[in-house]
Amino acid sequence: MRLCHGDFTGDVTALWCYYPSTKDENIYIFAGFGSQIYAYNISDGNKTHSRAIVFEDGARVHGIHGTGGPWGPLLAVHGGRNAKVFLFRSTLYRLKGHDGSVHRVSWAPHGRILASASDDRTVRVWALPDEAPNANDKPVTLVAMRILYGHEARVWDVRFWGGLVISASEDCTCRIWKGPQMEMLTLQHTTAPLASAGQLTTGQQKPRGSKGDWVRSMALDSHDVLYVGTNAGRLQRVHLPHADRGEEHWEDLWDNGRAEPLVCVAVTRHAGPDTSVQEDGGVLASQTLVDPSEGVEDAWLAEASSPLGVRILRLDVDMDQQLLVCGDRTGNVLAFHFDAACLHSPGSHAKMPLIVVLKHAHQSLPVSLVSISPEGSVATASHEGNIQHYIFTPPASTSSTDRTLRSIFDRNEFPGISEVDALLLVNVERVSALTVIDSEDELPGPSGREDRVLSGFQADDWILYSMTHRCELARVRCGGWRRQYACHITSPTTFTFVYYRDRKIHVQRRRQPPAKLNGAGGYRDGASPSGVSSLHMLHHGREIQCVALIPAPEGQMPVAVITGGEDGTIQRLLYTSTQGLHASAEIGEHAAGTAVKSISVVPIGPGACVMISGGAKEVLMAWQLSWRGRAASSAQDTHSQANGQALALEHRWLSTRPPPKGGLRPRSNAPGCNSKGSEHRYMAVVGFAKEGSADVISIIAASWEQVSSLCYHAAPVLSLAHASIPSTSCQLVFSGATDGAVAVWNCGNNVSGVDEQQPVLTIPGLHQSGVNAMSAECLESSEEACRVLLATGGDDQALCLAIFRVTWLCAASIPAVVVLASVTVPNAHSSALRGVWTDGHLVASVGLDQRLRTWTALLKAAHDCSSDAAESASSLGVTAPSCSSARLHGSAVETHAVASAQPSTVKIITQGRHVEVTPALKSYVEEKLGKVVVKYEAAIKEVDVRLSASGGDASKGPKKQKTEITIYTIRNGVVRAEDVEESMYASIDLVCDKVARKLRKMKEKAIARGKWAGPGGPRGGETIGQSLPSEAEDLVDKLPTDQEAAAFPEVVRTKTFVLEPMSLEDALEQVEQVGHPFFVFRDRSSKQVRVLYKRKTRGYGVIVPQLDD
């Protein structure tokens, strides 16, 4: 259903729907437009509407919140500093008191009390008077009943919930207000508990046994059965009491007889109800299986001893893979071959062979979690809050890309052990909510899908955390991980947690309650969701800074869209034409959460690539992305759709460039020398692969060796682009800085040692302001030379294209780069450009104005690019009119996006002055004028039609209808025509004829001069960047803005300056100094203004104005 209003243009700023409790009332939708409210009755078929002015002072309506009442919907409306209570069409109450803008008004459920949140850091609670309001009376001014102070920044939102007032503020807090007075206010309401998702029961259990014995370890078998291992080596079983019945019941199971402490108790589900007790004394990890039903079965099965001599804290066994992985106190991860046969030969005391040692995998922190999933992947975690995922791969099955990567990121630390890589690090996941991760489970979540739940500690609290929804599920204050504890989690909302404190065992339980929430904001019966579900996730939450697209191999459908944001995360989405954007996942988080500024993708093999991301504070990280899934072969074409969906993008973290010494803070330089290179707020990254090998070179070498530093720019570098030239080792890198300068570097040949490179070519002031985006592409190349097209987008709203010629003379390692031609489109967007992409022919740009524009670079067919002399004929132009604009919805996208080429027709812009441009009028203009201009389409940039009216009914004088048509051509100036008639349609007809004549004349002239771009004229564009001398150093000073040829005459700058009286000699000296082609001065003797200009051939000329008498 669509509600629209014919004569209004503008934004709807607020919406509220009134849904009555009884059937016979109407359903209304209230919408705020400007300072008015429109009420749409959507019950009747006609969708009638009425409107009322709310704010007489013109303030916009920013929000509506209504409530049902005995007199119909009662609306609370706010805008600016005003807030009002409003019965439709008449204001009842004004709410007076806020010092700043009001951001929200909200009613209590019973509709007598409302709360408002404001810029002035307060929440105000207002109560309506008891007596019925009279709509005909003057509005009553209400004063706030309560002012709730406490927020430390502006308050965004406020809501009532039962007896509570909940407010959310920019100080990142939510506050819940429930003072004694507040209770008085909302007395007639049942107070619904805020956190009614579960019940916590607390019990205390004392360990029995001899004096001095204490609990050394605990394990939960189910919610009710707890195994306790004591310091004196006894194992006990406790049946925990239920909330409603019974005492706890203790039974002794086993005593090891040696009074050795039971350090760790674990329950395994292997072959019946066995309990395996793992006891580690120093370097040993030994196992004792105890069957609780039959008593002690056996003690010693097998032994795995760590070569490192450090106490082992955690271990996990996988029988299928015959793998035992353990982690020790100093962050080492060890894997042993666990022979399942030893289970059937008790007493063998077999030694388990060591297969993997990952030394200090967790820096030097104790390992807190080791788990082997049924799929065979291993996860380990420690007290640093990271989960590392490994794939256990038998050595034979490693793929070639893995081998390549391994040679780059060399992990050969234990040469004695052959298969060091059997545990391959796949991913490091940062969990910000937990510092000590204790367990990781996939549990059935509320929506039926698996919910990934972690448990662990942060400071003194035990926390249950959902990784799927990125939220905390429970928090128990227990004293931290150093105390004995055990937990048993069966669903995100059902768990039992026991901990030992003050010589007592405390039990905390939460069980999913039958959800019964009624009334205010609650769910209706039967529809209550159980547990948590997140409504909004994998959202950067801050500005997106960079985007990269990775297509699936062999042109299959899913395209991965990788975004990096200000929030420090890199996330990815998959795109298919059928499903749209889907399958979002977080690839990772940047070190220290610093903003991701730039992403560069380097393909290293079929379906695999290395992604390098750079961010603020010099953070550089490398990731491997690879497509997994069956590749569609020709025989399976019928199933290609299914195969396409089976393709999945896997990511793994590879390396992080170690942060600079002194942490990630920006370095401060020694006093005096200014900050070249110390500016790390911006970071641009470009990566490329060396020709012919899969080695990834330069900035992502194994240990993040800095290969070269490019020092030319004085200002921060905003963007980088790279063009790799086939058949040579030359890698051109372009850099653009905030001061608008662009530099060209050759980064191909040097691979070792840090050297400070000098640019091959510099172009200062290519843009007036910062160079925000760049893209480069090699056009054509031969043995000795090639041409490269560079597209840049600047903060100054301009798009600039430049063609460079690169030559190698006498096998010199440094190529000579010269600018052949350049062209600037001054107002490519109506705001700063943020992304540019080119493939050498098509150019796409996006700007902060959220438009995507595609351009075609008109390259004159060049001669053989190795011949020097003919080179000057090479030229460049831009077809501005063939720019098609697409509105980009959503927030500003900054991207190097692959845009599809859209052939476009001429845009006709119709504007009316004192005339309403009706759709009929508009389509008439477009039809009529479209026929005329379509023949000249290739040469026309823009068509502007202005319709205006005067006289007649509107004002004095005879009725006049005027049509003006202005056609901006690419390089034949402006064609204009206008006509005044009594009828608008007549004037359009006549003016179209005039324009057609003028256009024809223009075309004939242009063809005669060889300047016609469209059909009938010479092919290609006209030389705009005139032939330039081929010495690079000459170009450096000449390229800036004077080189840009405006597509049509326009004044881009007006300059006023004082005319000093001076002699002709002085003026000549001045003009030589400033280097301008002209100079205006006042002659000292005659006091007249003279113009000195540089003649084309040689010398100067003077223009002396002659005044008429």
Binding site: T9, D120, N674, N827, K907, E942
Partner: protein, 298 residues
């Protein structure tokens, strides 16, 4: 972030304090003037949304004080500053505390000019930015509309208008609306405005109201001439209006995006020249002070 750190990260913040400007935005007006010479020959100026008063300071120092020093106080240009907030006094600046959208304020301004109209209206007003760019742009556009209503009342034909804009999604619409009143519209980005900020300034010159233009009907006029989007939302007209862009300020001078080192180790970080006079949250602050940081329910 400490004060010294901000001094390092923001050169113009430091320079503003050193030169006694109340806010770093003073440099923006100075650099705009450098490029456009808008302050030359100006006799009557209005500064809208003046608080904390850095632009008024620029006007005072560039227009009023030179005349005073030349010993011609009677010839000094008249400067009127309008803001909803109270502002600490500035020499040579008449302050009006009022709503810029009301005709009453406009008349008050003209009465200060003894019936003459202004040559220049400047407005550096911006909402308290939220970081949600779309919302900020909308509120900023509303603010410019409000500024235009007073401009229509007080600006003489041929006068100039400088205002802050956010160059966002609908920037082109705003330009086309301004083009109705000013034939000469330029977008200026002073060097002191950060590259990373979407802020820019429109410099509108040669005020030419359309014939039969009633300033009171400005709001309606602006609403009705919007061509950006048909109310039915089916056809959109691509509005491409070429508004020239000009970066101003000394391009080889200080870069607002770069960190600069403090002059020496003994550098004393200066206090802000003018703390906020009457923020909306002053009561909240007072209560916080009273309860020494403890939360209080009133």
């Amino acid at each position: 972030m400490g004060k010294a750190s901000k001094d390092k990260r923001d050169i113009y913040y430091r320079k503003a304090k050193e030169e006694g400007w109340r806010a770093r935005s003073a440099f923006k007006l100075l650099q705009i003037d450098e490029a456009f010479s808008i302050l030359d020959g100006v006799r009557h100026v209005v500064d809208l949304c003046a608080a904390p008063g850095s632009w008024s300071q620029v006007l005072s120092r560039r227009l009023y004080l030179p005349a005073l020093q030349a010993g011609r106080p009677e010839d000094a240009p008249k400067i009127v500053a309008v803001d909803l907030q109270p502002m600490a006094p500035i020499e040579g600046v008449t302050q009006i505390q009022g709503d810029i959208t009301s005709a009453l304020t406009a008349n008050q301004v003209i009465s200060h000019f003894h019936g003459e109209k202004a040559d220049l209206v400047v407005s550096d007003g911006a909402p308290d930015v939220t970081g949600l760019h779309d919302m900020d742009e909308f509120v900023q556009a509303q603010l410019i509309l409000a500024a235009l209503t007073i401009v229509a009342h007080v600006l003489r034909p041929g006068g100039s208008f400088v205002a802050k804009v956010f160059r966002g999604k609908e920037a082109a619409l705003l330009y086309s609306q301004l083009k109705i009143l000013f034939p000469d519209v330029t977008i200026a980005k002073p060097k002191s405005s950060r590259n990373s900020s979407i802020e820019a300034f429109v410099v509108c010159r040669n005020y030419t109201p359309p014939p039969n233009f009633r300033p009171e009907a400005l709001q309606g006029l602006l609403d009705r001439t919007t061509t950006a989007q048909d109310a039915r939302g089916e056809q959109t007209i691509e509005e491409r209006l070429l508004v020239p862009f000009l970066a101003c300020g000394d391009l080889s001078g200080y870069d607002a995006d770069q960190s600069y080192d403090l002059p020496d180790e003994n550098y004393q970080s200066l206090d802000p020249v003018q703390p906020p006079t009457a923020p909306a949250y002053r009561n909240a602050l007072a209560f916080k002070k009273q309860s020494q940081g403890k939360l209080q329910l009133v």
